[in-house]
Structure formats: structure tokens, C-alpha cells
Amino acid sequence: MKGIITKDLLGLKQVGLTMGILMLFYLFLGFMNMKDSGAGLGYFSIMALVINVMVPLSCAGYDEQCDWDVFGASLPVSKSKIVACRYLVNLMVMAFTTLVVFVANMIFAAFGGTPTGILGYLVPILLTVMYVAIMTPVIYKFGVQKSRFIIIAVMILPSLLIAGLGMFMANNADEESSMFIDSLDKLSSVPVVPVVIGATVIVAAVYTLSMLLSMRIYNRKEL
């Protein structure tokens, strides 16, 4: 398994370099804007999330380009383990980018900036894990090219829903919107810790199920 993980990480080296430069740029911007606007490292953190989301696509893209799957399956590693390695690499990259964002925020705070709160780390990372969990079996099933369209659709759908909700509220300004704001108020009184733990458990379960589904797809695949 070590070899398969090494292969994915080496493949990401190229993407990592480009992304690293972009992250440095946004980190620099964050520090420049610190005193003017009091803004945090928002863009920097978003870049980290973009990297996390790009990992499964980049790895699969490299594999497809050189027909790696055929060679990979001829190594003394089962197809299920090959899939498990991909999921592990996703987690490793997520852990790394979270650590980088955390350290950057610490430095940012030391220089007088407003650091991101714990929820500022957890919520995006849980959403990213969820997103990767949905995306990876789709990539295994349809390949990178076809998956791009499905993935774009998955990304656009929540935005459309939110926009739709906004339009609905604007058109029904009084009653419904006040009900909605009331329910949001109620939400703010819900204890955070149990919700975070619950969400983490759900996301972990979805990620595991996603891995099992990908294994099933990959095991049935004709290479």
C-alpha cells in the first residue's frame, strides 16, 4: 500500500507546487489587509479547501493519462487496497492543509489579526470531506472527463437552492421570512459540541460508505 500512496503523493507534487504558490499569495494578501480592513485569512483558507477538493480529480487525472490502473492492478496489491489508498491520501492532504491553515492563523493572530474560530476549521473541513465522499465514487464510475460535469452540477445545486430561497424570501417578504429568521434564531441556541460531534460521526460514516462503494465499483471495473 505504501507504494500506491507514494505514487499519488508524487503525482500531487506538481499540483501542490502551483497551489502552494497561490496559497502564499493569499497569505500575503491576508497580512496586507489585516490592518486596513481587519479581514481574516478567508481566501487563504478557501484555497486550502480548493486543494482538498482537487486531490481526487488530480490523482484520477494522472492515472487516466498514463493508464496507471492497469499497471497498479498488476502489483501485489488488491484493487480494494488501491481504492483505500486513494481515500487515505485524500485524508492526508486534508489534514496537511488544515494544519497549514491552523499554523498560518496562529501566526496571523500573533501579529494582531483576527484568527479563525474552531468552527471556522471544522465546518469547511466536514463539508469538504462530504464533498470528496460524494465525488470519489463518481470519478471511479465515470472517469475524470465525465465526472467533471457531474461534479460541477453537484457544486452548483446548493448555490441554486440558496439563490432560490433568497428569491422566495424576497417575494414573500413578511410572514415567511420572519418565520425563517425565527427558526435561525432557534438554531443558534442549539448546543454546538453535540452538533459538531454528530456531524463528524455522520461525515465519517458517509466517507466510509463512499470508500466501500468505490471499492465495489473498482473491483467490477474491467482494466
Binding site: 500512496i5 507534487k13 498514463c66 498488476s74 487496497k81
Partner: protein
């Protein structure tokens, strides 16, 4: 002599194509050449051996182990027609990956091949020539001390000098009687030089699997005119190639009629004439 690979009752269907191999044994210590036209089933057979595809039925063993076991591939080295590593990788990257994949990976042996093939360690694969890519694939396939080396059209598109160099490596590898090579190739001359056995696949079925020397003795090419052709018993003709002056016939050596001039049949002649005869 133990068998490096055994195939029994293998069936794999893709649409209207079926690969069907009742029985095939590849003895240890030999070079088995796999010949046949495009789409005959050579790659499907190799993919079945490596468990890359789901077969409809049948059993395959590698060095006595079921090919379904991942450990059965520990002693197998594979070279495909193209290098299957990302083009941004270097030879050093390839070493890192394979060192983590094989228990028997031998860094010293890898370095020996890299030196022998004069391959750069830090250059990206995309900058390699085809010959260099193939040498890198070969070094990668050999550096974990495999017992079975599988080559799927590995020498195609390579110039004769490099091919000859690679053939020498194969012959050197086969010096150990526990080592075996299964090589599918369109370049019949390479197989004629190196193979001990030849398996001919056509339309998904094995037409023959024989020792190369026996095979070459078994058939003869008979050249005759149209009148002489009529005098030959049709049942004795294995394959026929006609031209305006007469015909070239592939016949079993013991069936060549007296008075007819015959010549040694090459693997390519045998293959082509049988394919033509089978349609």
C-alpha cells in the same frame, strides 16, 4: 518441471468475442511466445492471468498460487506496450513507488539496470525516448527478482538495436531455470530468436502451443505450380497462399509428396497461412 502458469477452462466474453482456453501450461524456465493477429485474444489472456479483468469462468495459477491472490503477483514482473507511470515522474520516483509495492525490491539490482541502460534518474519520463521508456519499464519489472516476466507487446515500436539489447536481457534472465517469460509480440523474428515455446491464438482460441523447434520441424512450405497443386491431396494442406504462377502451401513435414521442393516454415508463415485458411 513445475509450471509457472496454468490456465484451465478459461472463458471471457466481450460482446461477440470470446476467449476460450481449455488448458494451457507454461513450464518454468522457458520463454513462451504468444502470437496472433490484433484482437485474437493475446492481451485478454494476459489480463486474465494478471486478474485485471473478471473472467466468466476458469482457473489460473501463477507459481502454484491462484492469480486472485495479491501475493501471487509478488513474483511477477510486467512490461506493457507503454510505460504506465505518470509522465511527470522520474526514474527515481518510479523506484520510490515500486520499493513500497514489492517486498523483494532490490535497490542494488535497480541501480545496476539503470546504469546498464544508461537511464537518467532526474529526467521526467515525458522527455524519454520510446526505447528509454521501455528500458525503464524493464528495469522496474526486473528489480524485485520476479520469477515470471510478462511482456505485452513490449518490444513494439523499438528500433532493432534496442530490441536486441532487450532480448539479451531476457536471455540473461532466463538463465535461472526458475525464471519464465511470457511474451506476446507482433515481431515474430524476436520470438524466433528467443522463444522456447510458441502459443498461437486465433479468434480467441489456441490453435497450437508447441516447442518452437518441434513446430519449425512440423511444417514445411511447398512451392508449386497450378498443375502440381491439383496433384496434392487437399486434406494434407494446412494453409495456402496463391499467386498467378501457382501457390505456396503449408504442409505437415511428413505429408510433403515426393518430388516436391519444400523449405523450412517460419512462425510467421505458419501463423499467416493458418489464419488465412481459418478465414
Amino acid at each position: 518441471m513445475a509450471n509457472a502458469t496454468e490456465i484451465k477452462n478459461l472463458v471471457k466474453t466481450y460482446g461477440d468475442f470470446t476467449l476460450s482456453i481449455e488448458s494451457l501450461e507454461i513450464p518454468s524456465g522457458c520463454i513462451m511466445g504468444l502470437v496472433g493477429s490484433n484482437g485474437a485474444g493475446k492481451s485478454t489472456m494476459i489480463k486474465s492471468i494478471l486478474d485485471l479483468i473478471k473472467t466468466d469462468s476458469g482457473e489460473i495459477t501463477i507459481n502454484g498460487m491462484s492469480n486472485r491472490l495479491e501475493s501471487s503477483r509478488e513474483d511477477v514482473g510486467v512490461v506493457f506496450d507503454e510505460i504506465k507511470f505518470p509522465q511527470v515522474f522520474t526514474a527515481s520516483d518510479v523506484r520510490l513507488v515500486l520499493k513500497g509495492a514489492y517486498k523483494n525490491w532490490d535497490d542494488a539490482l535497480w541501480s545496476k539496470y539503470i546504469e546498464q541502460f544508461k537511464l537518467p534518474l532526474k529526467k521526467k519520463i515525458k522527455e524519454f525516448s520510446r526505447g528509454m521508456k521501455m528500458k525503464l519499464s524493464l528495469a522496474a519489472a526486473l528489480a524485485h527478482h520476479p520469477k515470471l516476466l510478462i511482456l505485452d507487446e513490449a518490444t513494439s515500436g523499438i528500433d532493432p538495436v534496442v530490441r536486441d539489447e532487450i532480448l539479451d536481457i531476457f536471455l540473461d534472465f532466463i538463465q535461472d531455470e526458475q525464471h519464465t517469460i511470457l511474451a506476446s509480440s507482433h515481431i515474430i523474428s524476436d520470438l524466433e530468436k528467443a522463444a522456447d515455446y510458441v502459443t498461437f491464438i486465433n479468434n480467441g482460441r489456441i490453435v497450437f502451443c508447441e516447442e518452437k523447434d518441434t513446430l519449425m520441424e512440423k511444417y514445411r512450405i511447398v512451392k508449386c505450380g497450378n498443375e502440381e497443386l491439383d496433384a496434392i491431396n487437399k486434406a494434407d494442406i494446412v494453409g495456402k497462399r496463391t499467386n498467378t504462377f501457382g501457390a505456396e502451401l503449408l504442409m505437415f513435414s511428413d505429408r510433403v509428396p515426393e518430388g516436391f521442393v519444400s523449405a523450412k516454415a517460419g512462425i510467421e508463415d505458419i501463423m499467416l497461412m493458418i489464419i488465412k485458411n481459418e478465414g
